[in-house]
Symmetry: C2
Subunit: 167 residues, 2 copies
């Protein structure tokens, strides 16, 4: 099976086309059969320059920085307790909410901190490309949305039926 991903967005199998010997549908139906509408997406306002995907990617980038810091801390804890302490102390003073700002400040703290910052940059790139399970993210997000929707509606129904019984 061929992977459909950003690196390989176009499948090598050609688009489905009627063969010469294929029976064509009546003329008035041809448009419907062979040219589905190209855009049926819902309009999302308020993302003037960036798309919702870009906004979500920026959040993920900050998340990858957070994960990279955790990975580097776990590695340092066992074989370089001094660097571990230094990084922990730096984290206590600087928020990790904005990943890039955190790395920028860390680079300028001291030459030793600069080495740590470079390592965090390297780890967040490697983690996002190699370790993070993108397929799993999508699967979990679908499941979470469905489960939450069901739970919210069930809770409401249970609550109101309870109130009605009391009446």
């Amino acid at each position: 099976m061929e992977c459909l991903s950003w690196a390989n967005p176009i499948p090598r199998t050609p688009l489905l086309r009627p063969s010469r010997t294929h029976q064509l549908p009546p003329k008035r139906h041809r448009f419907l059969v062979f040219r589905p509408s190209r855009c049926q997406k819902m309009y999302v306002p308020g993302f003037a320059e960036a798309s919702p995907e870009a906004k979500a990617a920026k959040n993920l980038q900050d998340f990858f920085t957070f994960v990279a810091v955790k990975i580097v801390l776990a590695q340092l804890e066992s074989y370089n307790p001094e660097a571990y302490k230094e990084l922990m102390e730096f984290i206590s003073r600087n928020s990790l909410n904005d990943g890039d700002k955190f790395c920028r400040t860390l680079m300028r703290e001291s030459p030793r901190h600069q080495g740590l910052a470079l390592r965090i940059l390297e780890v967040r790139s490697a983690y996002s490309k190699r370790d993070f399970e993108w397929d799993n993210l999508q699967k979990l997000a679908f499941k979470m949305v469905d489960d939450s929707n069901t739970r919210l509606m069930r809770d409401y129904v249970l609550e109101t039926s309870h109130l009605e019984n009391e009446k």
Copy 2:
């Protein structure tokens, strides 16, 4: 090429094995050559019950709720200004950071608000499954991490070379 993903974690091609006619390497090297380590992922601490993917999926779920509210508002604005005003007023009093909490409160506000809440639940599910471009998210996240890493390092180099020139 076969996809390595959550749905298909084990490739169907057998692990590399020497054929009968193949010249075996010296005995002390055999382990290294024919048994590659199965897990080469970096250890990520601090996600006790949930995986990093689950944590990221939860964030995306809240993001989808935010997007669904924006979509519903844009739809209401043109053909139901009264409901639009009501929803805007509700948003000004309730944070959208926790999507589920927002929907739970909205459902209990009034019967009209309940209808809006149900619509938001429906839209966030449809948006995540149909409209959101998952491949694009991955592509953008890779690009953002790479671009940010380059920018952070370039800025630092420019800054320090400037300081050295001044000396």
